[in-house]
Amino acid sequence: MIHLYQLRRYLSKLTIYLILCLGGLTVFIPFYYMVITSVKKIADVTKVPISLALDHWPTFEPYNRLLSEMPYLHFMKNSLWISLCTTLGTLFFSTLAGYAFAKHHFPYRDKIFMLLLATMMIPGSVLLVPGFLLMRDLGFINTYWSLILPGISGAFSVFLARQFIKEIPNDIIDAARIDGCSEWGIYYKIILPLSKPLLATLGILTFLYSWNNFMGPLLYLMDIDKYTLPLGIALLQGRYTRVENVQMAGAALAIIPVLVIFFFFQRQIIKSLASSALKE
């Protein structure tokens, strides 16, 4: 009897493993294809029947070709710069506002906050046309301001910051106030150090959003040396030529660093992404 029970348990465990592996494989194959193709010669890529493994010693020619023909690393640098600025700006302004909304009592506070929340309902696609005209009139087209400033102006990050800072006990703040600490001092010496998990979450969310943003750069950036990484990736899709290995080299350069970072900070990133579910 015990035996049968154990057998059933082993069997069910085995099925679970099988299903999990099958699903994992489905997720894995595109990445695998990317890596393997990016180190193949084009003749090996277009071979019939396909070979799942490498036929020859890996070649880095696709990477060379990509980097020599396209300022790909420059695109990465641009993306990094924009994302960092957006992230830093968001962290600073939203914690500041979040602190005020959470801990200060001032007239119209809740009304203003509700108004702020209401703007979260406006979908980005409504802003495409007028947003472009606004950027044009502000002279922001073809500058990074057109990407950084709208990136900072999200109600969601203020909302998240407020929810977090609300949980910080009032006693600490009151004690500091009695000790003669200014509001800036409280923000800098108490709120910021205590909000590290919040900063991590907000930082990761903003950075990822900004790093992967496509529509904004597509409409606002004109000069190729200002292009961001997603635009660069889109450029790889040629009209006349289908050079898979170079394309995959480009995809790999964009994806692998992100995956490496994800691997090391997995728990924190997953937690942050889960908290984005709070949205609305």
Partner: protein
């Protein structure tokens, strides 16, 4: 301790940012530098950069070359012109000059540089000039041309005792012979459009519109005849569409396509990929029918434009003349012919060039010269865009009907469509062939009877709009409009006043002043939101009531009231687009949820290696959709070496590779599969969080009651996940309505010039439609109106969700 550490971190971070910022390249501005945007890929730009060096040595004018991909160029040129920062000179598609010229975006060459134009006109083939003109203004200079040519394998033709066809009738006989001998005929799929249709209808004296541009000619007997010919050739023989050259160079008789119609630039690709074929293939102009009247051939290519806002127009003109000179033309030819498989060589429009000794076999050169000399294009007709799109749609509708019919007949004989067509070509079933031909005739005639009035309406509408709002622009002084006040400027003033008032109010009131620091803390996000969200929202209400071309200043927007909205509500595209959005949502969301719940509950058991599993399952969430789409684009390749196809073939699910991305009937499904793959991670994440909230004791109690795993799953897990499921359904519905990147990339992305959102716009959902109207068709008013319809739908969904959410919270 903690503080110093933090300070040092922040300083370090700021330092890195500043250091990165310093890397921005700034060019020295001593010489005159002109900006040149080259339509095409990197190789084009590389060639121009090479020539630019020479040009600099001769004239001390620097040329900064930037490639602009075919798929993006409309948007890029439009946004650059609208923002007032266009390059100096650029190459555009053939209709570009007229499109930009009609709203004064580019200069009239005839007016500004009459001598240069006179010189160039004697140098360049006359036919190539046609589309550069608009109402007597010359807005463009031809740069390169291309047209359909027929490539054939001499060795196989000898074996089958065939001659290269000279007329369309001969060509069809050759195709029939090929099909009956188990060979394919190749035809480049992307030319299967209204534009490619010109090849078939022009010989019969018909065009897509009549010469005045006022009427569609879709009932013209020549039009219908040419159209039927095209549909017949494309559908009753065994054709290979996607990339015919791949079958051309294969020797395996079962899959070879010994003849294919494509562009000239395949020329060097053939030699690069199959060097042994160098003397074994021939090239002839695409044959015209013996009973046709005109021998002109449809031309594609690019034109130069010089932008009105350019500061260096005469330098730009020098650059154009330099590029068109015979010596540079020869350099261009040698450059591209040696590029091999990536060659994008279009034909030179320079007459003298063709008298030079070229590194080409003589018969090839003769054919090519004939093609370019006969090249010609229809004049740009105002407002024909929508009518042309309707025409393109009809090709697919009719083709699909005929494909279905043939499949049905083939099933009747219990053979595949391929064998059915072969039998037909062999003349074994003449009665079937006759019925199919009659079927084609009937379908084409019926179809055009229904769509001709609709096309005429669309054309009338487009022409009316132009006449009403834009026809006088070329005679007006645009500068005066630029200085006028418009709603954007007004709303900026209003916002500035409001901010000033708020500040004043806070400082003035004693009670409020006490809280100034709080107001200061919340000011930046509020300010940014009012500038970047509230102003645009106000402005877009106004724009949705106007007709507005963004190349012109906003003060030239024309108030039309509710016309945009009523037009869109009446447009069948709205319903098609909404249908597609919901089709997408209805497929993606439930499938994602089911798979997500299964995997999440399995992952929840935390089996070793838990971390690796989670890493794998969550990884699509952090990577960019664009990069992921690029990978899937390669996986979806419709050839034997596409991985998905080769897996399907290996497991015996299909016999012939499926052409995923060029088939309007399955394109949306490919987007759905990609989206499920990409979005699953988020679903699993949310469900996992939900699972952890379900109290363990419920399971324990169930176990005591004797419930098995499945019963527990259905009676505890599923009901416990209700809030997460509802959240996901609403969020993903809103997300589905706004999907863009996947469709953009899979549908052609920056690669394809026409039909950007899937074949025949079969992937066009709401956001792509806004993008198309606003940033490709220059119709900001309609785009805003569509955006508001989308807004309304999303708002409704959000309210439903909030209602549910708050009701639940109140109950709890």
């Amino acid at each position: 301790m903690l503080r110093t550490k933090q300070i040092s971190y922040s300083v370090l971070l700021c330092g890195i940012v500043l250091w990165l910022g310093m890397f921005d390249v700034s060019y020295s501005q001593q010489d005159v530098a002109i900006k040149f945007w080259a339509l095409g890929e990197n190789d084009q730009a590389a060639f121009f950069s090479l020539i630019a060096k020479e040009f600099y040595q001769k004239t001390h004018i620097k040329v900064e070359v930037q490639p602009v991909p075919w798929g993006d160029f409309r948007t890029k040129y439009l946004t650059a012109m609208a923002a007032g920062i266009p390059p100096d000179v650029a190459t555009t598609n053939l209709s570009g000059p007229a499109e930009y010229g009609q709203v004064a975006g580019v200069i009239d060459f005839q007016q500004v540089f009459p001598e240069s134009v006179a010189r160039l006109k004697s140098q360049i083939f006359e036919g190539t000039f046609k589309q550069a003109y608009f109402r007597g203004h010359l807005f463009g200079i031809p740069w390169e041309a291309t047209s359909l040519a027929l490539f054939y394998r001499k060795d196989i033709f000898r074996k089958l005792n065939l001659q290269p066809p000279e007329t369309a009738e001969e060509m069809e006989k050759v195709i029939a012979t090929l099909t009956s001998h188990d060979y394919y005929y190749g035809f480049i799929w992307s030319r299967n459009t209204s534009w490619g249709m010109g090849t078939f209808i022009w010989p019969y004296g018909a065009t897509l519109l009549d010469s005045s541009g006022e009427h569609v000619t879709w009932q013209h007997p020549g039009f219908l005849k040419g159209y039927k010919n095209a549909i017949r050739i494309w559908n009753i023989y065994n054709m290979y569409f996607e990339k015919p050259i791949e079958l051309f160079i294969i020797d395996d008789p079962k899959v070879c396509a010994p003849m294919f119609a494509d562009y000239y630039w395949r020329y060097s690709e053939i030699i690069t990929r199959a060097p042994h074929l160098e003397h074994e293939f021939g090239i002839v102009p695409y044959p015209y029918p013996a009973d046709g009247q005109s021998k002109q051939v449809v031309m594609g290519g690019t034109n130069f434009v010089v932008f009105r806002l350019s500061q260096h127009q005469s330098e730009a003109m020098k650059w154009i003349e330099f590029l068109l000179s015979t010596e540079v033309q020869l350099k261009r030819f040698t450059y591209f012919i040696n590029l091999g498989e990536r060659s994008q060589l279009m034909l030179s429009v320079n007459k003298e060039f063709w008298n030079l000794p070229l590194p080409l076999p003589n018969d090839h050169k003769k054919s090519l010269q004939e093609i370019i000399a006969r090249s010609f294009n229809e004049e740009y007709q105002v407002g024909a865009n929508d009518a042309n799109r309707l025409l393109e749609k009809s090709i697919y509708i009719i083709e699909n009907q005929i494909k279905d019919y043939i499949a049905e007949r083939a099933a009747h004989y219990q053979i595949s469509s391929y064998d059915f067509k072969k039998k037909m070509a062999q003349g074994l079933i003449p009665e079937e062939k006759n019925t199919i031909l009659a079927f084609i005739d009937q379908r084409v005639e019926e179809h055009f009877k229904t769509i001709t009035p609709i096309g005429q309406q669309l054309l009338d509408k487009g022409r009316m709009l132009y006449k009403k709002y834009y026809s006088t622009i070329l005679d007006q002084d645009i500068q005066t409009f630029e200085n006028k006040l418009d709603i954007l400027k007004i709303s900026k003033i209003i916002v500035a006043l409001l901010i000033a008032m708020v500040i004043f109010w806070i400082l003035y009131h004693k009670t409020l002043r006490k809280y100034w620091i709080s107001y200061l803390f919340i000011a930046p996000p509020l300010l940014l939101i009012s500038v970047f969200i509230l102003i645009p929202i106000i402005v877009s209400v106004y724009i949705s009531f106007t007709k507005y071309n963004p190349i012109l200043p906003l003060s030239m927007a024309h108030w039309v009231g509710l016309e945009n909205l009523t037009d869109i509500l009446r447009d069948s595209t709205l319903w098609e687009t909404l249908y597609r959005s919901f089709y997408y949502a209805v497929l993606v969301i439930p499938i994602q949820l089911c798979i997500g719940i299964i995997f999440a509950s399995l992952l929840d058991k935390n089996l070793f290696p838990e971390k690796l599993f989670k890493f794998l399952y969550f990884s699509p969430m952090v990577t960019s959709v664009i990069a992921i789409s690029l990978i899937w684009l390669a996986l979806y390749a419709g050839t034997q070496y596409g991985w998905i196809n080769s897996f399907l073939i290996k497991f015996g699910l299909i016999k012939d590779p499926i052409i995923f991305l060029k088939n309007n009937r399955i394109f949306m499904n490919t987007v759905v599969i990609l989206s499920i793959w990409q979005g699953l991670a988020f679903v699993i994440l949310i469900i996992l969080a939900g699972l952890q909230n379900i109290p363990r004791h419920l399971y324990e109690a169930a176990e005591i009651d004797g419930a098995n795993g499945f019963q527990q799953f259905f009676h505890i897990t599923i009901p416990g996940l209700k809030p997460q499921v509802i959240f996901l359904v609403i969020m993903n519905t809103i997300g589905s309505l706004q999907v863009f990147e996947q469709i953009y990339m899979l549908g052609g992305g920056s690669g394809e010039a026409e039909s950007r959102f899937g074949p025949q716009d079969s992937g066009m959902t709401m956001v792509p439609w806004i993008y198309r109207k606003g940033f490709e068709d220059f119709k900001m008013g309609e785009a805003s109106a569509i955006a508001y319809i989308l807004f309304a739908i999303i708002m409704l969904l959000t309210i439903i969700y909030w209602k549910y959410f708050f009701r639940k919270e109140n109950n709890a």
